[in-house]
Symmetry: C2
Subunit: 457 residues, 2 copies
């Protein structure tokens, strides 16, 4: 009769302990977003499939969760649709899907509200998204994205602002073991040009991006196979061998670029971003110019950046870049944007591995009132009123259960103090305050209990 | 080519202004929940349909949003399934649905985590739910629920705690024009018993519940039609005519109940709840015992309460009650719970109508830096650094656009101050701070700007 319930694969519950840690990360990021002038946006979980499909490539379309039409979803289906198979039937019986990322819904919002939105529009959005991916360690079918974007300006001040935010977020999270790699699509185009691979730009980037995984030798042989000649490989080799500070690397690259206009353009953008970042008071030694960084080039058009931990084996924890024509697909042309996305799950795992979550004495309640009997129970409600009026998060065990049971509750829930209340305590109007960690205890009036707990806050 | 995008009906975007107000409500409620010892829980948007179906009646099952299985969803469908129509096909091609409320997923969580959960378990949950209802004013297909429940104890202290929270929430929201109606299923059973309608309890309640809408005369004639005789109607009339304070009404009702055990039991529970509430320091004159309150009796088994505004035409804004056997359907027996649910959308509309949202000068950024030219733009980044280090939410217009455009941006975004930066200002190291509302302005060093803005915070 009663079924044993389960969760859909790739989805998760977040209980109190995880919520405490997740909120710590999300609230920290949110505070920084706000301090930098970003405003919140929320969009629905469901979008019309016409908004979603065709925006993430064929693979993305396959990974959309589609919502069955309500009521008689077969009413407009004919037998041919059914006979042709699921690909033909699917669009006839579904018109909504769960959102796949926050960027496309954001673009839709901007287009639908273009007359009311104040440009440049700085918005942040922290919401779950859904992908029908095969679940595996660290990959979920429902997960939060946490994005900040500035749209409606080409200014490179924005890139620096986002990089400053990244550093401020990790500083607030007391996490320092990371490096920010930056590059620029135009720099990559310049490199392809001087290597003689201008016409094969995307394949050139896909191969270059594999450097970390397959090594230089294999990358070079793959590049040869797409027609990069020996001179080209030699040029690339000299670029990849550049060492030293960001600026000196960029200066040498500028010489190599020579008359490549797009390349020089890219170098200026990188330099201006770094310059702006240091004007904003941030050290640029957290930032490395990385000429092999070739991520997201199907949509990024200018600066690109990604953040990785240096002492923990973990993928990219934050990434972003500039994209032109965010809203073009919905008919609004010429809106350039730049964004950054924080990977909450990976940041969580990183902080967990490095033991960087704050050790908070009282995650939720500060004190549990422990009544010994019915009379004490009634009395404890009056004390509870005084504690809460003083702003102290507190609760009473709702039944006069055995003391051991009540203390066990405080212990399991991580409540640092208990206040013991029996008939003797009520007569004396002094109650035993016990510090759970050490077992130390003493008797106080309720006023002194409040003072003690407030000092502890 | 480019489609004009739209939102699925019954769903909404929340832009910055709405988010500001929604967060004000949600953060206020969340703070109170935490102060009372409730801990957060989040469950996924999608649940297995085996968890959801059969929990909300036939109507509820119809209103579930079902998610199409991924990949070839027809692979296990045979032609008969298709020929039999959508009702037969649906369970073959969907196995997940969007959650319909927060209570069933909560029950699932408790059952799946019963060995780790600390009972009594006090949890709050603030998340969207989905219902394929016909959208209309105030009714959405995606909307937030905001619930707090205590499960695993029968103690009536919990009921009082929840009623205290309701009052604390509305006090914090500076909203006082409401009344809390309370009753108890057992009191209603007693009334049905003394009116001779014990065997027709549910129909009796359904009719009684219509009193507000159709009036006493019609209610009485409907009751006659289910077999309530003249003596029964006379008794009911005397109960409905009871006036005066809660306790005196309850005392008279106790006399009327005589030997009705269940009725007397219900009266004790109501009295104990009121007594606990006043021990917790809350006035009980916000609370009216209402013998016609007969909501949710298909699941409530003890105390019932609902909150309505008194000066605004609006339905119930908060409601709850005690339910036994929350988790029985998933095989875990004997877990009693009591909960309260805040209706965010209706609270929003109520506060809006009564103009009770706080007038905050700076919803997001406190000051906009307005550079006149490229040099000023660079300089402004350094000032921005100082402002933010002092904890002041601030931003720079990312391009040295015309002053009018920049001031328009500050105005539309509701930024209360602007700091004007031109070559003269840079030379003097004094900048013009302008208060947007009055147009008053004066020149200050950046240190004095910071002091001024911090005092304004």
């Amino acid at each position: 009769m009663a079924q044993k319930p389960s969760l859909p694969k790739g989805t998760r519950d977040f209980g109190p302990e995880q919520m405490f840690k997740r909120n710590y990360i999300i609230d920290t990021i949110k505070d920084v977003f706000r301090k930098y002038g970003f405003m919140p946006l929320e969009t629905p979980a469901m979008e019309n499939l016409s908004v979603l499909t065709g925006k993430y490539g064929d693979e993305g379309d396959q990974l959309l969760f589609r919502v069955l039409n309500s009521g008689d979803f077969l009413s407009k289906v004919n037998d041919d649709d059914y006979a042709e198979g699921y690909k033909s039937l699917s669009p006839k019986i579904t018109e909504k899907g769960l959102k796949y990322d926050l960027t496309v819904p954001f673009a839709r919002y901007v287009v639908m509200n273009q007359t009311e939105v104040t440009f440049p529009f700085k918005r942040y959005q922290i919401q779950p998204v859904w992908r029908a991916d095969r679940p595996q360690k660290g990959r979920y079918r429902e997960f939060y994205q946490c994005d900040a974007d500035i749209v409606g300006t080409n200014s490179l001040v924005c890139e620096a602002e986002l990089l400053a935010m990244v550093q401020e977020v990790y500083k607030k999270l007391t996490f320092d073991a990371y490096q920010i790699a930056i590059s620029n699509r135009k720099v990559l185009e310049g490199i392809a040009e001087v290597c003689g691979a201008k016409e094969e730009f995307s394949r050139f980037c896909v191969i270059l991006d594999k450097l970390d995984k397959i090594g230089k030798e294999k990358v070079f042989s793959e590049l040869e196979s797409i027609g990069v000649n020996e001179a080209g490989l030699k040029t690339l080799d000299s670029i990849l061998s550049l060492t030293g500070h960001n600026i000196s690397k960029l200066d040498v690259l500028a010489e190599i670029f020579g008359t490549s206009e797009i390349g020089q353009n890219g170098i200026s953008e990188v330099k201006e971003t770094l310059d702006n970042l240091s004007l904003l008071g941030f050290l640029t030694d957290k930032v490395s110019v990385d000429f092999t960084l070739a991520r997201g080039l199907s949509y990024y058009t200018g600066m690109i950046y990604e953040v990785k931990p240096t002492t923990v084996k973990m993928g990219t924890i934050t990434a972003g870049g500039r994209y032109d024509n965010l809203t073009g697909v919905f008919g609004l042309q010429g809106i350039s944007g730049v964004g950054v996305s924080f990977g909450i799950d990976r940041i969580y795992d990183t902080l967990e591995e490095l033991n960087l979550f704050p050790i908070s004495e009282a995650k939720y309640s500060k004190v549990l009132l422990v009544p010994f009997d019915e009379e004490a129970q009634r009395h404890s409600l009056q004390l509870l009123c005084q504690l809460r009026n003083a702003g102290i998060a507190s609760e009473v065990y709702p039944e006069p259960a055995k003391m051991k049971k009540q203390l066990g509750y405080a212990d399991k829930k991580g409540i640092p103090f208990v206040l013991l209340i029996g008939s003797e305590e009520i007569k004396q109007q002094r109650y035993t305050l016990k510090y759970m960690e050490t077992g130390n205890q003493d008797m106080f009036t309720i006023e002194d209990v409040i003072t003690n707990l407030q000092e502890e806050l």
